[in-house]
């Protein structure tokens, strides 16, 4: 992957330290042309630093950056052909929508007619027709993001970088903007990298996800791969809101399982059935007590105590309701096992399913 001939953007062994905080620790990855990449990680994991180093807003202590086969270490930010959308958009407050989008073109001393054509085209593209004369404060959060997006695209960059593009927008509009942005990026056909701490966002929007933690890259892959086949304990624990359990071998169906020091269990691995419901695997089913039921809109989130451990499970709202204090059947389909060294993760399936199961 690292020596991919098609690599459009490539980072090789990037290191960056702020004081005694290691923001980038031997970061290497490459991005294919036209892909939409999500840099996913908790805050402080160094994802924004990677973006800023790539843009030229920050200088790496060591390592090389290549864009389109050219080493850009010593090329200033403005000459790298990059469009950057800032987290707070950084729209110029005293400029109208038109002037904000035209800013880069004016700096490049394009002709008046050319600027007008290009800005009109972009305003049309991002769907802000009729709002050219507004000031940023007269726009909604979503509209502001569209302006920031248009401004970044104005000078026809080859690479678009977005720093937490949806962080400043309320939840409902955010979902709408996600699909809008995805569509628009594929329409423009520009290679893009965005930073997010929201796993749902990364999974939904990106072609490929790069998971970062403590300045290091944990895993790179498609959303499906990263989610369902985590390679490191961090990725297994970061995605899917799981719980961790040390003494997993006491659960029915895993008595024979060994080779790990920690089990990571996602809610979707836990099937909860009421006592009167049909249970295909009675031998490997545990009995648990529902301690807490939280309403999550389309589903219930159940906190269940089994053998002095707490598990989280989901149950669809259409199914028969489960009450707090109720005894239920709990079937653990599988778990992620972290090996003794704490480095690798593999999947262990419930004994009852081992014959027939197909691991994705």
């Amino acid at each position: 992957m690292a020596e991919n001939a098609q690599a459009y953007v490539e980072l090789r062994h990037i290191n960056k330290t702020f004081g005694n905080y290691k923001a980038s620790d031997d970061v290497s990855f490459s991005v294919e042309k036209g892909k939409l990449i999500g840099l996913l990680g908790p805050s402080g994991s160094g994802k924004t630093t990677i973006l800023r180093i790539l843009a030229g807003l920050e200088t790496a202590d060591s390592g090389d950056i290549f864009i389109d086969g050219q080493k850009v270490n010593d090329i200033p930010a403005s000459k790298r052909g990059i469009g950057f959308v800032f987290q707070s958009y950084a729209l110029f407050r005293y400029k109208t929508v038109f002037d904000n989008i035209a800013f880069g073109l004016k700096i490049q001393k394009r002709s008046k007619a050319e600027i007008k054509d290009r800005v009109d085209e972009l305003i049309e593209l991002v769907g802000l027709k009729g709002l050219e004369k507004r000031y940023p404060k007269q726009l909604s959060g979503g509209q502001r993001q569209r302006v920031a997006f248009a401004r970044a695209l104005a000078t026809q960059p080859h690479l678009l970088l977005l720093d937490e593009p949806f962080a400043a927008i309320d939840a409902k509009v955010r979902k709408e903007l996600r699909s809008w942005l995805r569509e628009l990026i594929s329409q423009v056909g520009i290679t893009s990298i965005f930073v997010t701490h929201d796993q749902e966002e990364a999974i939904e929007v990106a072609d490929e996800i790069i998971v970062t933690n403590k300045g290091r890259i944990e895993q790179i892959g498609t959303p499906v791969t990263v989610y369902s086949d985590p390679k490191t304990p961090f990725v297994a624990q970061f995605l899917g809101d799981p719980v961790s359990i040390k003494d997993y071998a006491k659960f029915k169906g895993f008595h024979e399982t060994s080779g790990g020091s920690l089990a990571i269990i996602r809610p979707e691995f836990v099937t909860v059935t009421k006592k009167n419901e049909f249970n295909p695997y009675p031998v490997t089913t545990e009995e648990g007590i529902v301690e807490h039921v939280a309403f999550r809109g389309s589903m219930l989130e159940l906190s269940i105590r089994i053998r002095d451990e707490h598990l989280i499970a989901h149950r669809q709202i259409g199914q028969e309701l489960i009450k707090e204090g109720e005894k239920v059947n709990v079937f653990l389909q599988r778990i992620y096992l972290v090996d003794d060294a704490g480095e690798n993760v593999h999947i262990a399936v419930n004994e009852a399913l081992r014959e027939e199961s197909v691991v994705i």
């Binding site: 200033p76 403005s78 950057f84 987290q87 005293y94 880069g104 404060k137």
Partner: protein, 276 residues
């Protein structure tokens, strides 16, 4: 009828205090000014306020105040910039010294500046060599007004400059804007309202400044007499009606200056707050 209670208590009481203070300190004295000047007929009033010597004093006052405030706008911006953008030893002390002109009795400043700038003084000596007189000329008046006006600009611009996000500059730099372009196209629009406010406050204050100017001005009729001095002169002649008439003109002038400022500020705050 039920009285609706506001969430924030004490509106009645605090509003009453505000009105009482405004009335006692601002409105009643200003009204008395009008009442005193009304003792003159309109014709006499017009003659008093347009005597050649008084007209010359307006010119001196407005001109020196304008030049001094313009200098302050540039220098004050530079000082604010240095205080906000850089770290250096003694920064806190420098930051505190800015306010000295507020605290210092203006007469003290006037005497100190005069001593420095007379042809025998430390600074005056250098300029006297080049044939430039500072004390007892309009240059001297301007210097005194620069001294008293500088904190107005620094203190208006400083907090606004602190809030200008680094991302604005980075956004502009991504397009290849030079430092000069970034300053004039990105930073200056952000701080312009504060700069104008600082300029107008310094200007309004400078026009009315008396204490520091009388010592350094030399008070030559038609040349270095400022309007507040004309008022003092009339008072010493017990010609209260004339004194208040000239004062009324100054009041109008101050009102116009602040009104223009308010117009500009409300225009820019509309852009920033997004209310049309």
């Amino acid at each position: 009828m039920k009285k609706k209670k506001s969430v924030i208590p004490g509106f009645g009481l605090s509003f009453g205090i505000v009105m009482a203070m405004l009335g006692l300190i601002v409105i009643i004295p200003l009204c008395s000014l009008v009442v005193f000047s009304l003792k003159l007929s309109p014709r006499e009033f017009w003659e008093t306020v347009t005597r050649p010597r008084v007209l010359a004093s307006y010119k001196v006052s407005i001109m020196t105040a304008f030049i001094a405030s313009a200098i302050n706008a540039v220098m004050g911006l530079a000082i604010a910039w240095v205080l906000v953008r850089y770290d250096f030893p003694g920064k806190r002390i420098m930051d505190g010294i800015i306010e000295l002109p507020f605290a210092l009795p203006t007469a003290v400043a006037g005497i100190a500046l005069t001593h420095l700038t007379v042809p025998e003084g430390w600074v005056g000596k250098i300029f006297a060599g080049a044939g430039i007189k500072i004390a007892y000329t309009r240059i001297g008046i301007t210097i005194a007004l620069v001294f008293i006006g500088i904190p107005f600009v620094v203190r208006s611009v400083q907090p606004v400059l602190e809030k200008v996000d680094k991302e604005y500059e980075e956004a502009a730099a991504m397009f290849g804007a030079s430092r000069i372009q970034i300053f004039f196209q990105v930073i200056l629009p952000e701080i312009k309202p504060a700069l104008i406010a600082g300029f107008t406050m310094a200007f309004a204050r400078s026009i009315g400044e008396y204490g520091s100017v009388v010592f350094i001005a030399g008070n030559t009729p038609f040349k270095t007499e400022i309007t507040p001095l004309m008022i003092m002169a009339k008072l010493q002649e017990f010609d209260y009606a004339s004194a208040t008439s000239i004062a009324l003109v100054m009041l109008l002038l101050a009102f116009v200056i602040l009104f223009v400022n308010a117009l500009i500020q409300s225009h820019t705050s509309k852009i920033v707050s997004g209310i049309e």
